[in-house]
């Protein structure tokens, strides 16, 4: 039989985390990501792990802070309003350089919004939803196999750079089902967690302190410079993008996550009709895949960014394209998912096809 299992997105992400060695999960219920903590509550005890339903998202992320500080592979998940609550803890973790994986199964906003899928949390994810100068590595899978693979890799990236990694999904990805296969990520050499607060007896009596408070301006600037140097390394090493039909594409559609899959269907239709259209799908939203843009620039005449938002990633596309080509935008909001036909219509309009 096949090694594949049919899983719901939220479950697949949870199982992938467990297979990546995550043994601690702290969360709080919110739709549409509930299957993730539910699965964890059932599965973690089977592998000797710990699940705690926290009293709030605020508490959950701070439990993650404590557990990550004690050297564990640890995860939390939530959906948009809950992720907003976690921002305080995320900023502290970035400041204290703690590795962990955070999952956001995005729903419609602002405020309580709806439980339908959305992509309105892009700014919050890549520009820093919490206070201070920090970056999260943000990975946006478009299908469940990729979600599984990226979650596996996310733990390594987090440990390698001592930085939180955000998996940015959306309600569709969390709720849909697809067959997945669990496989190892390419092994990376990871540093020992000799900084973890596990008690002096566990690290030769050297006192460890997990902290983000740096009172002296000179010291805090030095700490920030260190963070920025780390982010510069990540920017070079961790860009990920998929290019589809871009070799001869006059129009390149830029889309991530579920939206990119709909774009693929639209592009298949357009290609059948002979139109030279391609897809650039950022997989790492931070670092933004600038290298991939460099590859498509020689041929591309126009860019069209499609999002389930009022236009957030499009700002990064414009920064990269830097005025060299027109950057168009098409977005739907409120939980409305664009159809392949809508997208094809936009493309044809830009290409001047009647």
């Amino acid at each position: 039989m096949k090694q594949r299992v049919l899983m719901k997105g939220n479950e697949a992400i949870a199982e992938a985390a467990i297979r990546a060695g995550c043994r601690f999960f702290f969360g709080y219920p919110i739709t549409p990501q509930n299957e993730l903590p539910e699965y964890m509550s059932r599965r973690l005890p089977e592998v000797g792990g710990t699940f705690v339903q926290a009293e709030s998202e605020v508490s959950a992320i701070n439990m993650v802070y404590g557990a990550a500080g004690a050297g564990a592979r640890v995860m939390t998940s939530s959906s948009s309003p809950g992720i907003s609550l976690k921002q305080e803890g995320i900023s502290y973790m970035a400041g204290a350089q703690l590795p962990a994986v955070i999952v956001n199964i995005v729903r419609g906003g602002p405020g309580l919004g709806s439980i339908q899928p959305g992509q309105g949390d892009y700014f919050q994810s890549v520009k820093g939803g919490g206070h201070g100068d920090y970056r999260l590595v943000v990975l946006a899978p478009a299908n469940l196999q990729e979600a599984v693979d990226l979650v596996t890799e996310a733990f390594d990236i987090a440990d390698l750079y001592r930085n939180p990694v955000l998996i940015l999904g959306d309600g569709l990805l969390g709720q849909m089902m697809e067959p997945v296969e669990f496989r190892q990520s390419t092994p990376r050499e990871l540093p020992a967690k000799d900084w973890a607060t596990t008690g002096l007896c566990n690290h030769n009596g050297q006192k460890n302190v997990i902290n983000s408070l740096v009172l002296h301006a000179i010291d805090l600037e030095a700490h920030n410079i260190h963070l920025q140097e780390k982010y510069a390394l990540i920017k070079v090493a961790e860009q990920k993008a998929e290019l589809l039909h871009c070799d001869d594409a006059e129009l390149v559609v830029v889309a991530y996550g579920s939206t990119a899959r709909i774009v693929k269907t639209a592009i298949a239709q357009l290609r059948d009709q002979g139109h030279r259209v391609g897809l650039l799908r950022p997989i790492s939203l931070w670092p933004f895949p600038e290298d991939a843009f460099a590859k498509v620039m020689p041929v591309a005449k126009d860019f069209l960014c499609v999002e389930m938002s009022a236009g957030q990633m499009v700002e990064d596309v414009k920064l990269v394209v830097n005025g060299a080509r027109p950057v168009h935008f098409y977005g739907r909001m409120g939980g409305i998912v664009p159809t392949p036909n809508e997208i094809a219509t936009q493309v044809l309009q830009i290409m001047g096809v009647k």
Binding site: M1, K2, R4, V5, L6, M7, K8, E11, E15, T31, P32, E35, R42, S114, I115, Q116, P117, N143, L144, Q145, G171, L172, Q175, M176, M177, E178, P179, V180, E181, S258, R261, I262, K264, T265, G335, V337, P338, T339, P340
Partner: protein, 238 residues
Amino acid sequence: MNSLWHHRVSIITGSYGSGKTEVAINLSLAKRSFYGNEAIVSLIDVDIVNLYFRSRDKFEELAKRGIHVIAPAGDLRHADLPALPASISGSLHDTQQQVVLDVGGDPAGATVLGRYQADLPEGSYDMILVVNPYRPYTDNVDAMQRLISAIESKSRLRITALCNNSNLMGFTTPEDLLRGQDLLGELEVRTGLPTAFVSCVPAIAPAVSVMLPNVPVLQLGLYMLPPWATGNNYAGEV
């Protein structure tokens, strides 16, 4: 009667992600087609566990095909509130109606049935456990048996038959259903429950019929497709 059902009320239950909603929709359509255009067929969405891909999402499309979908109305249709419509009891008692209940997954989803226990005396309904052994927690017979006990305990109803819905979505082969039937065969022996039918997409239905000649096949037109899918045999991309 028909080999897919014995009673007016068919309750579709199972672990979540087993494919209950597709089975429930297609069973409703089968009832409609069996009893003809005059028949009232109600599909009752009592899935208070799941959020997306619920039968209520296909309200208009199913209405055109003569299926009356009973689900929370208006804004509540898009909410994650356990707001059950008042008309459910009426449909369960209306002997003129054919009824299919699309129940939420797992014992958690089946709990809501306990609330209708008085409306569902034993012997008045089929309660079908949809099984997909390619799902976690239903990949072996022990687990399936545990699921049956848990659903029966929560719903306070008896499961009467099994549905073999072995699938890996578009990657499903007839052999996958055959392998699933091996497990269900063992489950039949242990529980005494018969397999009411196997369910699969039309493309592989003929091959499945050949391999499993003694089990009726419910062909599944797929309704719960993601927005990028085209065609009935959507495979996804892996």
